[in-house]
Structure formats: structure tokens, C-alpha cells
């Protein structure tokens, strides 16, 4: 079976047929690597990243960081926490803190995109990030790497290690785990 150059590469007999393809969201077919392409970060030929959108901000993180993507679940708000800690959700018996990273960065969400929660972490320590549109894998060539980092929200300071230009957008490559550690510290501080 061959991967076709379409939005949904495996449509035929599978339940994959009918999966959403809103034209305003990142499309799957243009970012999924062909089967014969080899991810070779060491050779700097190209890098693969999981791309997420927060309003006007386009972030990249490690391609295997996502555990799953879910629709925003009902949450219980927590008192005396930052507004960007949306609350805690019960997802199949696991307590999932849901963060609005866009709000934490002072960015408005992209209203024309459906909102999802990207779940990251291991089974015992998960966290959900509200994102605009479905996260997708994107591949970046060395030539697309920016020499200078673009302006970024202060919340990201110290956690950005690269940036790329692709599709008329600047993509900021962040150490999401480091960022979440910092956010955890902010939540723990009593000043909020």
C-alpha cells in the first residue's frame, strides 16, 4: 500500500476515511513524510517536529512528545491558581491538569480553529495543553533554519533553542518539558 499525496493518505478501507480536513487547519498530507524519507537529525538533512499553534504563535516540540490529542474535556477549576491553569480534568480516571499556554504567553487564541488538548507526559504524570487546531508533524530542512530567533513571549525565555521559516510562518522550536517545569514552579508560587 502506498502513501498517496493527499490530505488523508490512507483512506481506502480504513476508518481513516472521513477524518476531518478543515481547510483552515494544518493539513496532514503536506507534512507527513514519505515512507522512504529518513529522519536524520545528526546529518542535519532535516528535522521532524510536532507543530502546535497557539493563536499567532507557531511552536515546535519533540515529535514523540504527544501522548494523545483529545477534545477539551470538562474541567474543575482550582482556586488560587493562575488563570492560565484552566483546571483539572478527569480523563479515563487520570487527573489531567489543563494549561492554556496561549493565555500564559499573553496571546489570543485563533478563534477560527477548533481547539484541542494535546496530552503530553507519561502515564503517571500527564499534562494537557490547549492548542488551536490539530498538532501535526512537520519536517524542516537545514536551509529553513533561521539565524536569529524571532521575538517571543517572555514566558518562553530560556526554552527556545531554534527557529525555522516555512510556509510564510516562523516556527519556534521550544523545549516544552523545560517550559512546563517552569510553569509548574509558577503554579506553585503563592503570588497568583
Amino acid at each position: 500500500m502506498e502513501m498517496e499525496n493527499s490530505v488523508l493518505p490512507h483512506e481506502s478501507a480504513s476508518e481513516f476515511a472521513g477524518t476531518p480536513s478543515c481547510p483552515t487547519e494544518p493539513q496532514l498530507g503536506d507534512t507527513v513524510a514519505a515512507p522512504d524519507e529518513v529522519y536524520s537529525e545528526a546529518g542535519t538533512h532535516s528535522v521532524e517536529r510536532l507543530a502546535i499553534q497557539l493563536g499567532s504563535l507557531h511552536l515546535l516540540c519533540a515529535p514523540d512528545i504527544g501522548r494523545e490529542v483529545i477534545l477539551p474535556p470538562p474541567v474543575s477549576q482550582l482556586p488560587h491558581t493562575p488563570t492560565w491553569l484552566v483546571g483539572v480534568a478527569n480523563v479515563r480516571g487520570t487527573m489531567l491538569p489543563v494549561l492554556d499556554l496561549a493565555l500564559a504567553c499573553g496571546i489570543e487564541h485563533q478563534e477560527r480553529l477548533r481547539r484541542y488538548v494535546l496530552v503530553i507526559g507519561d502515564s503517571a504524570d500527564q499534562i494537557g495543553l490547549l492548542v488551536d487546531g490539530l498538532p501535526v508533524l512537520r519536517r524542516f530542512e537545514t536551509a529553513e533554519r533561521l539565524n536569529n530567533l524571532p521575538p517571543q513571549p517572555p514566558m518562553l525565555d530560556g526554552h527556545v533553542h531554534d527557529a525555522y521559516a516555512q510556509g510564510g510562518k516562523e516556527w519556534i522550536d521550544v523545549n516544552i518539558k523545560g517550559l512546563l517545569d517552569r510553569i509548574g514552579e509558577l503554579i506553585a508560587t503563592p503570588s497568583h
Binding site: 488523508l8 476508518e15 529518513v38 501522548r67 494523545e68 483529545i70 477534545l71 502515564s123
Partner: protein, 120 residues
């Protein structure tokens, strides 16, 4: 694609046995794993023709296992079919992003499983 040997992965004994019976009954040979870590390890060591993979598992879930298999040079040519009670469109798109070739929602019929295998 000439499918002979299938790796079936499910943390539920009942579901594992059910899937195993379906594919054995159709003449395929079967290897089984009950967690994601073992599944990735068996995919490398046994190199099955197909992986039938449950999604909701503790520790590594099926999406993560799928990504591990399809992004590894040693196993990336092994088709992965996700089998899950998580049947939202979001799950199917995310499964595709992780490299899955097919998706079957539980509860399934034996025909659905076998059709997926024959479609490869």
C-alpha cells in the same frame, strides 16, 4: 502485501484472546504482547508483517507505540493498525500522524479486522 505473521498487542486478556482467535482462524500466525514496551521490542526482534495495536494501554499507549515503531528505521516498514474503543475522528487523525495505516473501532467484527489486513 503478503501478510503471514501478526503481532497482536492489547493489555486486556479478553481482547487479546479475541483478536488472536480472529487472526489465527484466518490462517495467520500470531505473536502477542500485553504492553507497549514489549510490543516495540517484539517488533524489532521478530519483525512481524503487521501490528494490530490497542490504543488505551497503561504506560506507553498505542499512539506512542505506533510512533516508536513507525519512526524507527528497523521497523518503519511494518504496518500498524490501531484497534481502539477511542473512535473519535481526532483519534483517527492523531493515529495517522503517528504513522498508523488503519484504524478499527471497538467493538469490531472479525470481518472488519480481516478486511483491514487484506487491504494492506
Amino acid at each position: 502485501m503478503n501478510v503471514k505473521r501478526i503481532l497482536v498487542v492489547d493489555d486486556s486478556d479478553t481482547d487479546l484472546k479475541n483478536l488472536q482467535q480472529i487472526v489465527l482462524g484466518a490462517g495467520y500466525s500470531v505473536i502477542t504482547a500485553k504492553n507497549g514496551k514489549d510490543a516495540v521490542s517484539l517488533a524489532k526482534s521478530e519483525h512481524p508483517d503487521v501490528v494490530l495495536l490497542d490504543v488505551l494501554m497503561p504506560d506507553m499507549n498505542g499512539f506512542q507505540v505506533c510512533r516508536a515503531i513507525t519512526s524507527d528505521d528497523a521497523t518503519k516498514d511494518i504496518p500498524v493498525i490501531l484497534v481502539s474503543s477511542k473512535g473519535e475522528k481526532t483519534d483517527k487523525v492523531w493515529g495517522q500522524e503517528q504513522g498508523a495505516r488503519g484504524f478499527v473501532t471497538k467493538p469490531y467484527t472479525s470481518d472488519q479486522i480481516l478486511n483491514e489486513l487484506r487491504a494492506l
